[in-house]
Symmetry: C2
Subunit: 203 residues, 2 copies
Amino acid sequence: MSGQLIIVSAPSGAGKTTMLKRVIGTVARLSFSVSHTTRQPRPGEIEGRDYYFTDDSRFQQMIAEHGFIEWARVHENYYGTALAPLRDALAENLDVLLDIDVQGAAIVRGQSALPVYSIFIMAPTPEELERRLRGRRTEDEKGLRGRIRQAREEMAQAGTYDYLIVNEDLDRSVDTLCAIIVAERAKQRRSPDGEPIRWHEPH
Amino acid sequence: MSGQLIIVSAPSGAGKTTMLKRVIGTVARLSFSVSHTTRQPRPGEIEGRDYYFTDDSRFQQMIAEHGFIEWARVHENYYGTALAPLRDALAENLDVLLDIDVQGAAIVRGQSALPVYSIFIMAPTPEELERRLRGRRTEDEKGLRGRIRQAREEMAQAGTYDYLIVNEDLDRSVDTLCAIIVAERAKQRRSPDGEPIRWHEPH
């Protein structure tokens, strides 16, 4: 038996971060993938909890050694998901949440060697998304416009995900996310010849 | 949007009946398919709740009119699942539980026109199955042997189901069954060309 990778993507304002925190505290045998980054830690960020902070040359070395399941350069900084800790967690029968964007998700899904499914979370309407982003008051109008445009572009990829959660009500959305994880554990992964299961070792 | 058919099969002694009663009381938008039968009502059975009781000629007429999604003759009696109420329930966005055996399940799955997924429930071990069947004290040793043999034969088909629940702990198994139903509602049914979803009408 082995755990599975759970890709979770959401445009800004969908409520993903709050949901993931609640789910981690609710579902057993669930871990969270911590990304590597070359950007500087922000105040309050903790090594190994928020990110593994590293430098450019070490990051490039990991790329060369195929140490990342996916990585990307955003502005001046690199971000990546290391492969080794994922393999370790799966082997320990933990499911691993991967909080990655639509590009990263496409890359991870392409690596069929690992068991993976994907969940897209979105705000119920464009108006609600805008309301949530404005409520943060962390950006000027131009930055806000950019985020809204980006969210719309990411939304166009929602159909490529296995599950879709429209986050209208937080409690209900968290319940749905937990349900998906529990249900996927009861799902039978099919061998090509559909071989019957054995009594003592159900998958 | 439309509901889905949920096939639930289990050998005797798996705990299915108890589980289904609890799930019906827990999950919203869920109905239960009531079978037609030509056998006589037993004391306490209620028309429309336990079965739709009918006679041979009416049953044969429904077969001829393709009124059943599946039917079978067991000993002297006919049992069948009528199609029309299923279509009505699905159109009302209800999911419908179908409590049918492995043969019926194979027939229903073959009818790809209706959205369907399947769940197999089983006892954790052959010893536990036997213990549960003996605990019922409703049968002689020969009848019991027959049930155990039949359960083993049905078990061989478990691998053809989408989900497998090993009923070790009743509460946990009920939670898993509820989770599957909630998760399946968040699942994106794929169109062949993977067309992107629209914002206001997520599937």
